[in-house]
C-alpha cells in the first residue's frame, strides 16, 4: 500500500512454476488481512473441488498496520479447510508480518501443485521455486534449521514449514512459523502437503519512507505507551496465557479428561505459575511487539541411557497445556513437554491432537474401539502411549489412524462415541467450558474458534445470569469488530488498545483517513464475505449438532440445558439472516 493507491497481490502457480503481481485498488476498502483474503478466496476458490485439490488456493495477507505499529504482528491465512470442508482461517505471529510487509506484498495467493517437493522463497524480487526433495520427510525443527542455512535474510526473514503430518495430508496438521508460532488450526499443513509445498521463506528488505513523520510518530508512541508497562498487557508477559489454567480451574471451566470434569486435580502442577517456576528460560516477542508473550521453557530430561541430561526448548501457552494436560490427564510439566515435543516435531495442531486423543482414550475405555485400533495403550495420565499415538497420527499405520487423521468428527462418525467427541462445527474444541457463550460462539463463529467472537469472555463477565438477546448481539458485534482487527492485522491481545477510535487514528497517521463508523462497516462487510464463502461451500447452521457431553458436565457458569442452547441457536440464526440480508 506504500507503493501506490492499490494493494499488491502476489499470485503463485505451483503447477506452472510461475508468478505475477497484480495491483488492486479495489481491495483498499477491505483494509487488508482477513478482509482482502476473504475477497480473494471468493475470486479464486474452486467451489466444486475437494479441499486438498491442487486448484484450491492458500491465501496469506497482512494489513495496513502490519510491521509498522506495535502488536500488528500477525499474518492471516485463508483456505478451504480439509477438517471442516468449509471456511479455513488461521493466524500466526513472530516474524511473518514484518517479512511479508517489507517483501512488498499485501497478499499472497498460492495455487496448484508442484511436480515434486518444493519450497518457495518470496522476496522483493518475486518468487524462487526451490527443490525440496531432500527436505521432504524431515521434522519441523530440522527443516527450519536447513532453511535458515539455505536462505539469506537473517533478521527480516520468516520461515513457514510443515512436518511429516502435513506431508501425509493429516487434517490436524498445521504450519510452523519461526519455530515457536503456528498457523495451527483447521489443517493448513495438509493443504501445504497436497501442494507438495514443504515451506515458504519470506524475506522483507524493502524500505518505505515515512510520509508524515510527526503524525506517525505520535500515533506510534501513543499505542506504544498504552501497551508497555500497563497492567492490561503485563499479564501476557509475566505468567503468559498459561495464567488461564488456574483461573479456569477455579470456576470449573477447565475441560478435563475429555470433559468428564471441569476441574483438574493436578491443575497447580501444570499451571502457568508452575511452568514458569520450573522451566521458563526466556520470553520472546513477535517482531514489533514490545509486550512479549512467547514463553520458552526448557524440557530437560535424563539422557535415554542415563548419561547425564539432554534438553530442548519448547514454547508453552494455555492452549497446548489445556489440550495435553487436563484433557489427557497429564499431571506434570515433564509429561506435557514430552508430548508437546513430538507434536511440534511432527507439525500437528496441539489443540486438535489433544482433544482427538482424549476422545480415543475414552472410546478405548468404553470399548467403542480396541487396542487393535489404537496400537498403543491410551490411558489418562500416561504420556508414553500418547507419544506413540502422535507418531501414528502423523504417519498413519492403519485404518484407524487414517480415519483419525481426518479429524475427530470424522473418526467418531465412523467408530461411534459421538456424544463425547468434543468438536463444535467440526473443529476440536478450545479449552473454555465457560458456558453458553463459549458453546454457541465456538459453534457459530466463521472458523469455529473461541476467538471468532470471544463468547467465553461473555460467560466470564456475565455468569449464568444473562439475557439471550444480549448474548446474540454481543457475538455478532464482537465477530464483526474482530474482523476489523484481523484485517489490520493486529494481535487480539491488543484488542483493548486498538479501539475503533485508536485504530482510526493509527490509520489516519499513515495516510488512510477513516472513522470508527467506517471501520465498523468494513467489519460487517467482511462478516458477510465470509458467510458468502461458507454458503458456497454448502455450510449452514441447520446441521449443527452438539455432543451431549457439553450438557452433562457442568460448565463454569453451571449446567447447560440443550433446550436453552437450541433457543439461543435459533435466535442466532434469525439474527444472522437479518445480518446477511437473506435466509439462513
Amino acid at each position: 500500500m506504500f507503493e501506490g493507491d492499490f494493494l499488491r497481490v502476489l499470485n503463485i502457480d505451483l503447477s506452472a512454476g510461475t508468478f505475477c503481481v497484480t495491483e488492486r485498488p479495489d481491495l483498499k476498502p477491505l483494509l487488508g488481512g482477513v478482509g482482502i483474503a476473504a475477497k480473494l478466496m471468493l475470486e479464486t476458490a474452486a467451489w466444486d473441488k475437494a479441499p486438498l485439490d491442487p486448484e484450491q488456493p492458500v491465501i496469506f495477507a497482512v494489513g495496513p498496520l502490519s510491521g509498522i505499529f506495535p502488536l500488528a504482528t500477525k499474518v492471516a491465512a485463508v483456505f478451504r479447510s480439509p477438517l471442516t470442508g468449509e471456511w479455513g482461517e488461521s493466524y500466526a505471529g513472530l516474524r511473518g508480518a514484518l517479512a511479508m510487509r517489507f517483501a512488498g506484498y499485501d497478499a499472497v495467493v498460492i495455487k496448484g501443485r508442484a511436480a515434486r517437493p518444493a519450497y518457495l522463497r518470496i522476496d522483493r524480487n518475486g518468487v524462487l521455486f526451490r527443490d525440496a526433495r531432500g527436505l521432504w520427510g524431515l521434522d519441523v525443527e530440522e527443516t527450519g534449521r536447513l532453511l535458515r542455512e539455505f536462505e539469506p535474510g537473517r533478521g527480516h526473514r520468516s520461515t513457514w514449514r510443515i512436518g511429516p503430518a502435513g506431508e501425509n495430508l493429516v487434517y490436524l496438521a498445521g504450519v510452523n512459523v519461526d519455530t515457536f508460532r503456528h498457523f495451527g488450526r483447521l489443517g493448513l499443513g495438509a493443504v501445504f502437503g497436497s501442494k507438495n509445498l514443504k515451506a515458504v521463506v519470506v524475506d522483507g528488505t524493502k524500505t518505505y519512507p515515512i510520509r508524515d513523520p510527526k503524525a506517525y510518530n505520535a500515533a506510534y508512541e501513543a499505542v506504544y505507551r498504552e501497551v508497555v508497562g500497563k497492567p492490561r498487557m503485563a499479564k501476557y508477559h509475566q505468567i503468559g496465557t498459561a495464567e488461564n489454567v488456574m483461573r479456569l480451574n477455579e470456576t470449573g471451566s477447565l475441560p478435563t479428561m475429555n470433559l468428564q470434569a471441569g476441574r483438574f486435580s493436578a491443575a497447580r502442577e501444570i499451571s502457568g505459575e508452575t511452568f514458569g517456576e520450573k522451566s521458563l528460560t526466556r520470553i520472546l516477542a513477535c517482531t514489533g511487539c514490545p509486550v512479549g508473550c512467547i514463553h520458552i521453557g526448557i524440557h530437560r530430561r535424563r539422557h535415554p541411557e542415563g548419561f547425564g541430561y539432554v534438553s530442548s526448548s519448547l514454547a508453552y501457552d494455555y492452549e497446548p497445556i489445556y489440550s495435553l494436560g487436563p484433557m489427557l490427564g497429564l499431571d506434570s510439566t515433564d509429561k506435557i513437554y514430552a508430548l508437546l515435543a513430538v507434536i511440534e516435531a511432527m507439525g500437528l495442531d496441539a489443540i486438535s491432537t489433544g482433544v482427538t486423543l482424549a476422545w480415543a482414550t475414552e472410546a478405548l475405555k468404553r470399548g467403542v474401539i480396541g487396542e487393535k485400533e489404537t496400537l498403543s495403550p491410551l490411558e489418562f495420565g500416561e504420556e508414553k502411549g500418547y507419544v506413540t499415538a502422535v507418531r501414528h497420527l502423523a504417519s498413519p499405520p492403519n485404518a484407524f489412524y487414517r480415519d483419525l487423521a481426518k479429524g475427530l468428527a470424522h473418526a467418531a462418525s465412523r467408530y461411534g462415541g459421538e456424544d463425547f467427541a468434543l468438536t463444535l462445527g467440526g473443529h476440536e474444541m478450545a479449552g473454555y467450558h465457560t458456558g453458553y457463550g463459549f458453546l454457541l460462539g465456538h459453534t457459530v463463529g466463521a472458523r469455529h474458534s473461541h476467538l471468532c467472537n470471544g463468547g467465553y469472555l461473555f460467560d466470564m463477565k456475565h455468569g449464568a445470569d444473562f439475557d439471550d438477546a444480549a448474548l446474540i448481539e454481543y457475538l455478532i458485534a464482537e465477530e464483526e469488530w474482530r474482523n476489523v482487527l484481523n484485517s489490520l492485522v493486529v494481535c487480539l491481545f491488543a484488542r483493548g488498545v486498538y479501539t475503533p477510535e485508536a485504530s482510526a487514528r493509527a490509520l489516519g497517521s499513515i495516510g488512510i483517513p477513516t472513522t470508527p463508523e467506517e471501520l465498523n462497516a468494513a467489519g460487517r462487510k467482511v462478516f458477510r464475505l465470509k458467510w458468502e464463502v461458507k454458503r458456497k461451500l454448502d455450510y449452514s447452521l441447520d446441521s449443527v449438532r452438539i455432543p451431549k457431553r457439553y450438557f452433562e458436565t457442568p460448565s463454569g457458569t453451571g449446567r447447560l440445558e440443550p433446550e436453552r442452547f437450541e433457543r439461543l441457536l435459533q435466535l442466532y440464526r434469525k439474527r444472522l439472516a437479518e445480518e446477511l440480508g437473506g435466509s439462513q
Partner: protein, 135 residues
C-alpha cells in the same frame, strides 16, 4: 557525551522496538532494514539474542577511512555523518572493526547517530546510554 551500550542482552525479547525506533526517528523509514542497531539471534530463535551496535569508538576507524569528510569523529565517541559529503565509496563498511556499518539501497552508509532513541524505547532496559570510558 554518552554513547550507546548493550547493558543486559539476556533481557532482550527480540521485539525490534529499538530497530523500529531507529528507522522511524533517525532515518524516517518504516523498515527495520534502515536501522543502525541490528538485533539478531545467534542462530535461530532457540538461541540467545545479540545486538550489533556502533561501539562509539573515541578514535573511529570509519572516520579515519573516510576520504571525503562525511564521517567525522564525534566528541565522546562515535561519528557524525554528513550525508552531503558522502561519495558512497563504502570504505567505512570495511573499516568498521565490529562490522556494523551497512549500506542502504541508495548506497549510503547507515550510521548510528548516538541519539539514544533505541535505548529510550527498549521495554526491557537492554540498552543504555553511558559515558565512554576510553580504551
Amino acid at each position: 557525551m554518552k554513547v550507546l551500550r548493550v547493558r543486559d542482552i539476556d533481557r532482550c525479547i527480540g521485539c525490534y522496538s529499538c530497530m523500529l525506533a531507529c528507522a522511524r526517528l533517525v532515518f524516517r523509514s518504516h523498515s527495520v532494514v534502515k536501522s543502525a542497531i541490528l538485533v539478531r539471534t545467534r542462530g535461530g530463535l532457540q538461541s540467545k539474542w545479540g545486538a550489533d551496535i556502533c561501539r562509539g569508538c573515541l578514535d573511529a576507524p570509519c572516520a579515519e577511512a573516510c576520504n571525503t569528510g562525511a564521517l567525522v569523529q564525534r566528541p565522546g565517541g562515535g561519528v557524525i555523518f554528513k550525508k552531503g559529503k558522502c561519495s558512497k565509496c563504502g570504505e567505512c563498511t570495511a573499516a568498521c572493526i565490529v562490522r556494523v556499518i551497512r549500506l542502504d539501497d541508495d548506497g549510503y552508509p547507515i550510521i548510528c547517530a548516538q541519539c539514544g532513541q533505541c535505548a529510550r524505547i527498549c521495554p526491557q532496559e537492554v540498552l543504555a546510554m553511558e559515558e565512554q570510558k576510553g580504551v
